[in-house]
Amino acid sequence: MPEEIRTRRSLLAFAVAAALTPVANVQATDWSGFAENATYHRDGVGLSKFRNTVQLEMIKPIETSGGWYNVTLNGVLRATYDGVYDLNDKEFGEDAKYEYLGENWHPNEDVSNQALTPGVAVPCENDDRLCNNLSGYMDEDANDIRYPDFNDEMDFIREFYIDATRDIGDDQLSVRLGKQQIIWGRTDLFRVLDTINPVDYSRHNIFDELEDIRIPQWMLSTELRMGANSVFDDMNFQMVWNFDKFRPHNMGTCGQAYRLVDAGCFFASYIGFPPDFPVPDYAGSLIPIIHDVVLPEYTLQNTQGGIKWEGVYGDATFSLNAARYFQQLPSIHYRPGAVPGLPALDGVFDIHFPRVNLVGGSIDYYHMGTDATWRLESAYTEGEELPRDTDGHKETPVVRYVVGMDKNIMIPALGSRSAFLLSAQVFGQSIQDHEKDMPEAKDNWIGTLLFKGWYMNNRLSPQIVIAHDVEAEATAIAPSISYQPDDHWLVNFGFNIKEGGEQKFPWSVAAANGDTSPQWEPLARFTNGPIGVANQEDEIQLTIRYGF
């Protein structure tokens, strides 16, 4: 860790500690948590998850004098062991072997699959060169994927922070310092403003609660709570400083059971040149797709942050947000070789994570006429780099938005006196400087629908979640039912069915070899998105949890 950062962290911690002193009394610690087993079975594959989790949550109130109050020390510890890598080691883990790239998504029928090798499962167990090239990103070893919380970043400490509040005039200053999640926005499943923490998609693609898959960061959140004034019923100003080392989204390493758009295997593959290739040095060679992962240097200048102003005005609650951070999805930068038109011999792309500036806002409004709550959330970013055939990427402004509606409906015909929840939302993305060779559509939308009911005093709850990606023509349907026999036990049984993922996209390398037809690899993974690429991941899912 650079000295500058370390010094500033220490100073900050000292300043907060000094402000909180003298500590008069430490009260009893409240502990709670759960133990859980999640067992999923994938059609045609067998066991896809046998995840065992223990999570402990603590809160310790601390009595103080000197102006600070509501002072608490908070922690969330999590230990996970996923036994699928031992119980179904032919399909997942370091011994898994794939016949071709994209084997669990599309048939082996294109030139692209002849040019690209299958991904190497868990590269750091099987391929030193790939492991070295992917160092700092997808470089997990066999134990890292079995015990994902026990990594170098000590993710078993999911959260550990101190909360404190003091009055400043009529306002309240609230400080939260430590490893934490900061949630912005009002959207389920997708993230428009909720960009502070990266996400671990290797846990269960996009389908787990974000609370469980956000990657907590060491941050300082300062809020000035101004309460009501003559115009607003509530007003709050928040500053977030993420002084942690940058971490990208975890998209799942090749060999893991869940890999967002199968990027992990693409990054762990090679492009092969035939023995009779006319250029010396290239003939018969295998060039790794990824040469290096260029992570932002951990310096003060590279720390991330944002500000938010939010309030309540009449029937509307709103926020205005701005953030400066690093793109959490990887951007691949093409590395040309000495021979025009051919990549560098030691790797085709470097992975970069460019700087992004975001401005946006959100609002929700209760409308009496429809007796529904309407949500709108939107963000405009600059600096993002999106996939493109030429050079691997292009920087472009992006507009994202969500329009959502939540409504509770009594449906006596369904035999429940509890209202059913209907929640629908449309997530839109508009790429401002779109190019024809970008595999993502200039404008795309994903619609989601949640319909949930309650029976037996809410202890039995069926629900169905449907998500449809318009351009990918891909759909996920997830019906489930949960049962709580008492305060401790929860059983959830469900299905997760996906359809689609049939889109292809032209690839210049195939075209250069005489095949101009659309290809599966490597670009169509972005066209089909996380739902389409997971089209062969139909699962039966059983989760049993004991809370305490």
Partner: protein
């Protein structure tokens, strides 16, 4: 013509002057101090006597239909307590003296012009008054209730199978209440400023246990304009987000219990959501008592020694308390919305305090659905901090779903202390701050 206009103006002034005239002190005395000359003279009901399946038929005139049914079936047995005066805080009585003469109903149900504070219609209700029911509803809504602010900390709710007595779920929560307007006792009064949306009252709920709903928080804001729907916000711990609730959710089972948000405190909806009918005033047995004199529960004992009301009877669904004879207004409310799950509620309003200790809910088919008991303790026989507050302390509840043979019971530790309920606790930001 000019003369005519003057005459009309003078006439209007006369009406106004009449409406604003101070009420006779006898109205105040009858409304707030019905027991100053002692309790009712009902020979057949004496303190200490037990009413059970064997003798309940003798007392049917003093019991609401649901309580009668439970006792007749042997589900519950009650002991009669002495009738005591639950004097409300003097500041509220004084506000009534000052302002009650000015209160006027608007043209539509839910409209009222009632400046100041206090009980808007302290006059005895009349069966001949077609809007008497509405006036009683306003007296309840603008009642002293928990005073200007209070907390229930903690508050245990248990979901029980009435047949087996099995406790299915236990929720531990904190509740806070704050009146933004019509305040009389706690500073500032009569209204907290700034109050740009003209809030009338807010309720904040924080769930502490069990784990699966821990950190769930609810904020309900009621407006001074009764025609406006409440604003309700829900923070779900597992989403860490504040969600707005549609009003449909206020008629939904709160956390799966037998209680709707609309049921809170007897009735938590808008006056304008119901058609109100006054059905008469009578002496009835009501669940009102002195907490410290009750046989208290051993479970959930607090560090300060406070013990909660115990539950007995079929399924453990009924509070182990004494019931006293009280002057009671019978009020019916029928939802205006034909899709509302409730067909009718019968409210048995305590005439002195205007709290609602007994409610019976009927479904859309007219069948008895739920029985809602909110036991009230005299504040001078509860926690020391509550002495002299003039608040009838909500102290125990039982909501029995008669059709489902299921109940939810509640054990309160009610604290009237303004320090526990500052205005900052009733904001959307508080939900985020108190969550993770």
């Amino acid at each position: 013509m000019r003369k005519q206009l003057l005459s009309i103006a003078a006439g209007l002034m006369g009406v106004t002057l009449t409406a604003q005239a101070a009420l006779p002190e006898s109205v105040i005395q009858e409304s707030f101090f019905p027991y100053k000359n002692g309790g009712p003279d009902v020979a057949e009901i004496k303190p200490g006597m037990a009413i059970n399946a064997g003798n309940v038929d003798q007392f049917v005139a003093y019991l609401d239909p649901a309580t009668y049914m439970f006792i007749k079936r042997g589900d519950y047995e009650i002991t009669v307590g002495e009738t005591t005066s639950f004097d409300l805080h003097e500041s509220y009585v004084e506000a009534t003296r000052q302002f009650a003469g000015q209160a006027k109903l608007g043209a539509r149900t839910g409209e009222i012009d009632a400046p100041g504070a206090g009980r808007p219609f302290p006059q005895e209700p009349s069966l001949d008054d077609p809007r008497a029911g509405e006036k009683l509803a306003w007296n309840y809504k603008f009642g002293y209730n928990w005073g200007d602010s209070a907390a229930i900390k903690p508050f245990y709710w248990k979901m029980r199978d009435m047949e087996s007595g099995k406790v299915e779920r236990t929720f531990k929560m904190n509740f806070n209440f704050l009146n933004f307007a019509r305040r009389t006792a706690q500073d500032p009064h009569p209204e907290i400023q700034p109050n740009p949306s003209a809030l009338f009252r807010a309720t904040y709920v924080q769930v502490l246990e069990p784990f699966d709903v821990k950190n769930t928080q609810l904020l309900v804001q009621k407006f001074q304009d009764d025609l406006k729907n409440d604003n309700a916000y829900l923070y779900l711990g597992f989403q860490r987000r504040v969600r707005r609730l549609s009003s449909g959710q206020t008629t939904d089972a709160f956390l799966g219990t037998d209680i709707m948000i609309e049921d809170f405190e007897g009735y938590n909806g808008r006056i304008s959501d119901m058609k109100w009918t006054y059905k008469g005033t009578q002496w009835m047995l009501s669940p009102m008592y002195n907490h410290n004199d009750m046989p208290l529960a051993k479970e959930h004992q607090e560090d300060d020694g406070y013990q909660f009301i115990d539950f007995v009877g079929k399924g453990g669904c009924f509070p182990n308390i004494t019931w006293q004879l009280r002057k009671t207004h019978v009020l019916w409310s029928e939802p205006v919305d034909p899709n509302h799950p409730v067909g009718r509620r019968e409210h048995y309003i305590d005439a002195q305090t205007f709290i609602i200790p007994r409610n019976i809910t009927y479904d859309r088919n007219g069948s008895m659905w739920k029985s809602w008991t909110i036991g009230q303790s005299h504040p001078d026989h509860h926690l020391p901090i509550n002495k002299g507050t003039g608040v009838a302390i909500d102290d125990s509840f039982s909501m029995v779903d008669i059709q489902a043979n299921h109940c939810t019971t509640g054990q309160f530790k009610g604290i009237v202390d303004p320090k526990l309920s500052p205005a900052s606790k009733f904001t959307v930001q508080q939900l985020r701050a108190a969550g993770r």
